[in-house]
Symmetry: C2
Amino acid sequence: MSGAPATGNLLRDVPERLAEEQFRDLVAAPGLRITRIVSTGQSTGWQEPCEDEFVLVLTGSGTLRFAADDRLLTLGPGDWCHIPAGVRHRVEGTDPDRPTVWLAVHFGGPGERE
Amino acid sequence: MSGAPATGNLLRDVPERLAEEQFRDLVAAPGLRITRIVSTGQSTGWQEPCEDEFVLVLTGSGTLRFAADDRLLTLGPGDWCHIPAGVRHRVEGTDPDRPTVWLAVHFGGPGERE
């Protein structure tokens, strides 16, 4: 069972201004989702997901806040962060002057592997 | 069971010249591996992996060849490709003048989910 290769570019069709973050799934498989996220300054509420998340910033920048120690972590181009399941965090904000393009990999959620 | 967040930068400590491709695992979890790959012109032999592979080019460029239709696909910054398990392919070569930095996500291999 081999499908055809799929391809695209994360930096193409990047909206300059958004009312809300934009999510575009590139791959969805059992136990895994790979998504392009575009933010234009948005923050998020607190999240405590039941799956791991790996994020990578391609352009722009974004700041994460972690509840455990109230630590701030700002990610710029090339920076990645692996946030294990259950780690309470939020996006504090992203670059207000240009779009921030993230690659996000969600994996290991319960019940997704069946 | 929540570990601490881990972070790093894909564009830091990039060797300019390598005898062989360099692999650095960022995340290893059941059924998933996220790896930084640095190539400085290398090609590979034919591969027909039993797991899916998602690759993204951050800097430089790389050309994939697919056996089924002998198609060439050149990926530059921001370009990604999802190569399903069982798709026979090789890396034809990468930019000879500068390092090519890839993010690779391998997932869905048999027996890795136990």
